[in-house]
């Protein structure tokens, strides 16, 4: 465990541990949830966790590049949300369900 800081500052590893916890929660939700929209939200949660790591490293190295990566991740996430939700709409229109266990045409 990191030793408690004497001055009023937060260790970098604490931010990284928070990022790890959020990422793990996202993975858990991605695996156990059955509603396709909630699964999609868990993907966003994982992307946010990774963004926190990027911004932490940008702070640690005193370089703005990490924040630019975060910006690109945000752009890709926005594009992904637009396309993914359109796919969800189409699936719901055709299959009339949001349960991912029932969307198994490609199985077997």
């Amino acid at each position: 465990m990191p030793s408690l800081p004497f001055q009023d500052a937060v260790p970098v590893s604490w931010y990284l541990l928070l990022s790890a916890v959020l990422f793990t929660l996202g993975v858990a939700g991605f695996i156990i949830r059955r509603n396709i929209i909630t699964v999609f939200m868990c993907i966003e949660l994982m992307l946010n966790a990774v963004n926190l790591s990027f911004v932490t490293f940008a702070n640690q190295h005193r370089q703005v590049s990490g924040q630019i990566f975060t910006f690109f991740v945000m752009v890709v996430a926005a594009a992904e949300a637009a396309v993914g939700l359109a796919i969800i709409l189409t699936v719901f229109k055709n299959r009339d369900t949001l349960n991912i266990d029932e969307i198994n045409t490609l199985k077997n």
Binding site: Q7, D8, A9, V10, P11, S13, W14, Y15, L17, L18, A20, V21, L22, F23, T24, L25, V27, A28, I31, I32, R33, N35, I37, T38, M41, E44, L45, N48, N51, L52, T56, A58, N59, Q60, R62, Q63, V64, S65, Q67, I68, T70, F71, F72, M74, V75, V76, A77, A78, A79, A81, A82, V83, L85, A86, I87, I88, L89, F92, L98, D101
Partner: protein, 167 residues
């Protein structure tokens, strides 16, 4: 004060993230996710990333989550049913696997960054809109332009997927 704000918003983020996973109704999950994103924006501010914190609020908590809630309401998504249809293997190995993943991540964080320094608010002001924009439009100009093509493709894809079938 740094420690206080970090702990406060880290706890809010983790509680909201647990709520995202645990809530049965998608709307509750979406509202919890907004809580995660808002507290992450505060953490970005503590890390000196002013522009990213603003973009987090506007793009993520604003645009993306409005899209999510719009789709949830459009599809009238109700609470998911939790029948006991899971396979025995999945229910036996799921929790240990997740805990193992968290353990591995924490182990490598502690292994690689034991003395990585500390974060202090206002110790580094490299994340202002000016510095960010300068880096974006000089060093990262080509990725930025490629991103615009990506967004164009995403817009066209969304329209093609969501339009009504023309017979």
């Amino acid at each position: 004060m740094n420690l206080f704000f970090f702990l406060l918003f880290a706890i809010i983020a983790v509680v909201c993230a647990v709520s995202v996973v645990a809530q049965r109704h998608p709307i509750s999950s979406a509202l919890s996710l907004i809580g995660v994103m808002g507290s992450l924006a505060v953490l970005y501010l503590l890390l000196g990333a002013e522009f990213i914190a603003t973009a987090q609020i506007i793009v993520y908590a604003g645009a993306v989550m409005v899209l999510f809630i719009f789709v949830i309401m459009l599809l009238n998504a109700g609470a998911e049913d939790r029948g006991g249809k899971r396979s025995l293997l999945a229910s036996a190995l799921g929790v240990p696997a997740i805990v193992a993943l968290l353990g591995v991540l924490c182990y490598f964080v502690q292994r690689w960054f034991p003395n990585a320094g500390t974060v202090q608010f206002d110790a580094w002001r490299g994340g202002s809109a000016q510095a960010f924009g300068y880096a974006l439009f000089t060093d990262y100009l080509l990725p930025f332009e490629v991103t615009s093509v990506l967004i164009l493709i995403a817009i066209i894809g969304a329209i093609v997927l969501a339009r009504k079938e023309l017979d």
